[in-house]
Symmetry: C2
Subunit: 218 residues, 2 copies
Amino acid sequence: MKKQASSGKRSAGATRPKPEPGYHHGELQETLIAASEAILAEQGAEGFTLREAARRAGVSPAAPSHHFGNAQGLLTEVAIRGYDALAEALRAAASGKQGARDKLHAQGLAYVDFALRHPGRFQMMFANKRLVADDARLKQASRAAGHAFETVVSELVAGTAKEAKTAAAAAWSTVHGFAKLALEEKFGSVRNESGRREVMMTLDQVLNYLWPASAARR
Amino acid sequence: MKKQASSGKRSAGATRPKPEPGYHHGELQETLIAASEAILAEQGAEGFTLREAARRAGVSPAAPSHHFGNAQGLLTEVAIRGYDALAEALRAAASGKQGARDKLHAQGLAYVDFALRHPGRFQMMFANKRLVADDARLKQASRAAGHAFETVVSELVAGTAKEAKTAAAAAWSTVHGFAKLALEEKFGSVRNESGRREVMMTLDQVLNYLWPASAARR
DNA sequence: TATCTATCTTAACACTGTTCAGATTGAGCG
DNA sequence: CGCTCAATCTGAACAGTGTTAAGATAGATA
């Protein structure tokens, strides 16, 4: 019942507009992923429900199971794309600067900016209990994002591999912790653009404190 | 509802073993909080349900509402106690050392140690959406815990108040991010004691990298 | 054209948090 | 001592949730 008037007739299809009729949706996986990301963007990680995603995709609550197994499977796919987007943002930020220290600084800003602009997606990416934590592709995507830090940091420390790993862990921990605390409003409101800008300025100072611009340290 | 105090203390009797019969439980609030903490310890933050807490306390699912309003109210109380315990752990760690830098280092270790030993409680403390985020006592407890960092850091930087705040934000972000990432197994397994010990050694190196022991920086 | 098989629906189950009318009971007051 | 009363808790209901099994549908294949 109630097929929500979804462009049933594909008669004079000039450019193959939308093939989403009754039984065989055709692109249900992508549609469900997009719906999930929309929910995360609108309502945050806690607002996601599998049934709501199915509702937005125009299918029954049982439909997703055939493609993703369960809710964790769907969210895992969403998280993978999130990690890909994050890695891309980090890469772009670093490529805009010269010098290891400035690259790292820009990456730190980009990391938190990503978290503040896509809070639901970001929180879900790190909500292991809601994902298939041992999924190979997820682990790969997560490692790729973390790797973006290591490559830049390795230029910076110029020491042993272990030192580079320590420095990368330090950088990741700092920006991740700042992002998490900021999202919990520990540094002030972050809902509007002006609040976010102020928080980002605090982050800038934090990064300057931990990785000073000049060679001299405090 | 929400009439605290009372503390139905029936005096007399030398020993009062179990006053938890039928209708008037007598200590339901404390019992519910303890049950909730037990669930968090056993099953993590995602494993908590209000009904399970009521079940363990031996009351109906509707009973908690008379004391805490709703699940958020109960969890807020749990979070407050968590912040109190965390603040106490930070204070104890700092008091065992001398010198601002060593105090800060010890506090960082204590922070992550707390998170790794009480993962469910820790995650819940920072799950704003599941708490009454604007509860006055909660905000106060959270600020008190954060203040433990500021007091120690202010000795370290010896600059303006703004610089101290920046340094405190840096320290908190780093240890919080490390704790979060560690709990998501980004630094290796953390389920058994040996895994935790290894992760704590990584943290030790991270802290040494960001706040070196000697005056000379890298 | 007939069959096969992936895809999706329907219906059900066991949960969840929350609400509300009513049962119970300890405590204070006459 | 007995009564009333307000606080406390129960029982039942409601609207949700994720997941599963059995059946309907339709695109692809032979």
